[in-house]
């Protein structure tokens, strides 16, 4: 579930509020959005992909909350890691071009 909206990184664009499929966030005037309905989070990671500054972190646990530490996440490179993997973001190219599904299906019996 979504666990972190980084105060220091967030630029208050409210993109996450708009794009979350299950309406988890609330916009707050002059402040980062809040996680208003955490239990509605479906752990789809879409907010992370759309956040332009890697300010969000979705923990892998989908049914229970987890405690996270922003500094540690940043240190091990987990903030924005999904976005990086699919090649979204400034000066990156989409890794869809490198999709290797054909290699995998060749191995299927």
């Amino acid at each position: 579930m979504i666990e972190l909206v980084s105060e220091s990184r967030c630029i208050k664009c409210n993109i996450c509020v708009n794009i979350c499929p299950t309406n988890v966030f609330d916009r707050i005037a002059d402040a980062p959005p809040t996680i208003a309905r955490q239990s509605d989070c479906q752990t789809c990671y879409m907010c992370e992909l759309y956040c332009p500054v890697d300010a969000l972190y979705v923990a892998p646990e989908s049914d229970v909350t987890a405690s996270v530490n922003e500094a540690e996440l940043a240190q091990v490179g987990l903030l924005g890691s999904y976005r990086e993997k699919i090649g979204w973001g400034h000066k990156r190219t989409s890794t869809a071009k490198a999709d290797q599904t054909f290699q995998i299906l060749k191995q299927m019996k």
């Binding site: 499929p21 309406n23 479906q42 752990t43 999904y82 869809a96 999709d99």
Partner: protein, 540 residues
């Protein structure tokens, strides 16, 4: 006296075609309707581009070049799995349409990879990329999008033809109404809020709205799909479990368990935890796997597990009709429902036409969403044109009732969360839904019918609760069509496993049509093309 809560509309719009749902099916529908000159409005519960199961997950596509031999193999390969309920004419149409439209995606700039021989490879779509592109394309085509705006009920005119919908913006609370000549339901399937990847927006709303307008369902017994995911996670992507070994807690291999034989996994999970390790994937293959499905690895990387070398507990999450094949009955090649002015596409519509009673493993679903979306958009646009002047003179009314209205005859306040938990308790457990029995289905139906009565006699007290109340109502309705159909199919066919009738019965090779709200009904419908019995025998 009944009084609908939704009365004054802050947004009052008109369109030739209204599309409800903005996944692959809805966006293809909107694009083809707009390309044929219609004024199109698309509404989505979430944000068109990120919501629905394709956006979060990604899709293998049934994309087969028009080579007769390849096409023949593609058609033959799944017929027996689907229990011989599919239709070869529809398969041909879908293969042709999918081929053309996926090539169109390439023209629009989807970054397809090239294979070893340098040829474009177009059988796989990464969800976020695909759906971001679809949003951009429909905007270019002039489609007006209302995001975060779930539809709550359909409108019909004095002749009972569908004439649009009403809904609410879940962030501002403002109500909207769209009066349209024709309407397309593309709201996806129903996964009962199981948190399977990207599926929690899929609560069967479209089935409910369509049924209230008089539409019928088909194939609702094929609704017991479960996806494998790490026990802690939502990621129900199953392709890579082809290379998994499944073990008990003590590390011994579970005999017969595989991604194709999920029933063995389900059976074991009833008694004890099941573990998996993707150890059959050769070292050389592993980087390719990461590039093919980056999201498969997310939960592992975050939980600090190397799935190739470390075992992890797995579970089966219900995907219901998302990976099932039932949905709104399609009456002809235009993807029309049995109600005038109403069309259906994607998971909201029955997929029996191309995959019979089985679709686990994908590909057909994405192809169906693309093709049925495309056709429904074209035909809905044509239908609106055919209405001519008549269209502006219609008097319309909403047809939603349960979970939507308040009034003095409704004694209790709706306990939405309790209803949702109660319906989940009937559809999640493997012993009830995966392994079906006459007794189990009867007991569940008793409880589900009771829940329906509860919903019927309750009222929502604030607009805020409307969306969840309607979702709860749609889930209960969906479960009742599912189990009423399942009880009628006294055999095991496609994904429907009936413990009391473990064999396929050649006399039951027909579709099951269902419908009804207060009184649910099920009836047989013969296949459009008969198949030789000898072939059926071979399937068992």
């Amino acid at each position: 006296m009944l009084k609908t809560l939704t009365t004054d509309f802050e947004l009052d719009l008109e369109a030739d075609v209204l599309v409800i749902g903005g996944g692959p099916a809805g966006t293809w529908a909107a694009w083809s309707a707009a390309s044929s000159g219609a004024r199109v409005i698309l509404v989505d519960k979430g944000y068109c581009g990120t919501t629905g199961c394709a956006a979060a997950s990604g899709n293998g596509v049934w994309y087969v070049p028009p080579d007769p031999e390849a096409r023949e193999t593609a058609k033959a390969s799944r017929e027996s799995l689907g229990g011989f309920l599919s239709d070869r004419n529809w398969m041909d149409r879908v293969l042709d349409r999918t081929y053309a439209n996926v090539n169109q995606l390439a023209e629009w700039g989807y970054p397809f990879p090239t294979d070893d021989e340098g040829k474009p490879y177009r059988r796989s779509l990464q969800g976020p990329e695909y759906m971001r592109l679809m949003r951009r394309q429909i905007q270019r085509a002039g489609v007006k999008i209302l995001d975060n705006s779930p539809a709550l009920e359909l409108l019909v005119d004095d002749d009972d033809a569908v004439a649009g919908a009403t809904g609410v913006n879940r962030q501002t609370g403002s109500k909207w109404i769209v009066r349209s000549q024709s309407t397309i339901i593309a709201t996806g399937g129903c996964a009962f809020l199981s948190k399977a990847l990207g599926c929690n927006v899929l609560t069967g709303d479209g089935y409910l709205m369509a049924a209230e307008a008089g539409a019928e369902m088909s194939g609702m017994e094929f609704s017991n799909a479960y996806g494998i995911s790490p026990a802690f996670s939502s990621v129900t992507k199953t392709l890579f479990y082809n290379w998994a070994t499944f073990t008990y807690e003590d590390g011994t291999v579970i005999p017969g368990a595989s991604s194709h034989r999920r029933s063995v996994i389900a059976q074991t999970l009833l008694q004890q935890p099941v573990y998996a390790i993707i150890d059959k994937a050769a070292e050389s293959m592993r980087p390719s796997m990461r590039l093919a499905q980056p999201n498969f690895f997310l939960p592992f990387d975050r939980a600090g597990i190397d799935p190739f070398t470390q075992r992890f507990p797995v579970t089966l999450r219900l995907e219901g009709t998302v990976h099932g094949t039932g949905g709104i009955r399609i009456v002809d090649e235009s993807c029309a429902s049995s109600v005038r002015g109403l069309y259906a596409a994607g998971d909201a519509a029955t997929r029996e036409l191309i995959c019979g009673g089985f679709t686990g493993g994908g590909s057909h679903n994405a192809a169906w969403a693309i093709s049925s979306g495309y056709w429904s958009g074209k035909s809905a646009a044509e239908y609106s044109r055919s209405l001519g002047e008549y269209k502006t003179k219609r008097h319309v009314k909403g047809v939603g009732e349960v979970g939507l209205q308040s009034g003095s005859d409704r004694s209790q306040t709706l306990a939405t969360d309790e209803i949702i938990q109660a319906v989940q308790a009937e559809v999640f457990p493997y012993e009830k839904n995966y392994f079906r029995t006459e007794q189990g289905l009867t007991e569940s139906l008793g409880k589900l019918n009771y829940l329906w009565q509860e919903l019927r006699s309750s009222q929502v007290t604030s607009d805020k609760e409307l969306i969840r109340a309607r979702e709860a109502t749609a889930m209960v309705a969906t479960a009742r069509w599912m189990y009423s159909s399942a009880i009628e199919r006294k055999e095991t066919r496609g994904m429907h496993k009936h413990q009391d009738y473990p064999e396929l019965d050649a006399n039951l090779q027909h579709h099951l049509i269902s419908g009804g709200l207060d009184r649910v009904w099920v009836k047989n419908q013969p296949l459009s093309t008969e198949k030789p019995l000898s072939k059926i025998g071979a399937a068992v």
